[in-house]
């Protein structure tokens, strides 16, 4: 158990990136992006976990009770908001691409290159 969480996080990241690079559909690709991003939440929260620690909410618990790291949780919250913003933008772009080219396959919307 001592390194499994980190391995899971790395695994999710690699799987997500593989999905992004090979996707044939921009909507599918946007979801793969959120999967890749979820690896950073898993890594952050795993890093900040403390054995025997409680959630960092001190309602009814004495101050100084062992608790997990609150900072990683704050960072994760911000990260989640970022993912909503990015998926919204990419889906909007996907709709535009579809309107203009009739396809959402990123391999077939390459209008300019070189």
């Amino acid at each position: 158990m001592s390194y499994l969480p980190y391995i899971v996080a790395a695994w999710i990241c690699l799987v997500g990136i593989a999905g992004i690079a090979t996707s044939r559909n921009l909507i599918h690709l946007a979801v793969c992006l959120t999967v890749a991003q979820s690896s950073s939440y898993v890594l952050l929260l795993s890093v900040g976990f403390v054995k025997h620690g409680r959630a960092p909410i001190f309602l009814g618990t004495k101050l100084g009770t062992p608790a997990v790291d609150p900072v990683v949780q704050a960072l994760t919250l911000t990260d989640v908001v970022v993912s909503v913003a990015v998926i919204g933008l990419i889906l909007a772009l996907a709709l535009d691409a579809h309107r203009l080219s009739g396809t959402v396959d990123p391999d077939h919307i390459a209008d300019v290159s070189g």
Partner: protein
């Protein structure tokens, strides 16, 4: 002591579920079905966050994967399909 003892197996299971869920989401190439699988993956993340003693991220993950992602994804899929259908009708 009891807290940690009960948490360990729960955490192991949650990590395993998340590790399995990610490739499932990526390998589901049909967007509509993928949105569904992604919802399930989101729930597994929520469970993981809860057993990692992170109720705040868990709640926001729940809100995002239960309401945020599905709404925009489904709307995008619906629009793309509607336009594809109309084009077929025209031709």
């Amino acid at each position: 002591m009891t807290l940690a003892a009960t948490l360990v197996p729960l955490q192991a299971v949650s990590f395993a579920l998340v590790a399995l869920g990610a490739p499932l989401v990526v390998l589901t190439r049909d967007p509509l079905r993928q949105a569904l699988v992604n919802g399930v993956y989101g729930v597994s993340l929520v469970c993981l966050f809860v057993v990692l003693q992170a109720p705040d991220p868990a709640l926001s993950m729940l809100a995002v994967s239960g309401i945020g992602y599905p709404l925009v994804i489904l709307a995008a899929i619906a629009r793309v399909r509607a336009r594809d259908r109309r084009k077929e009708d025209d031709s």
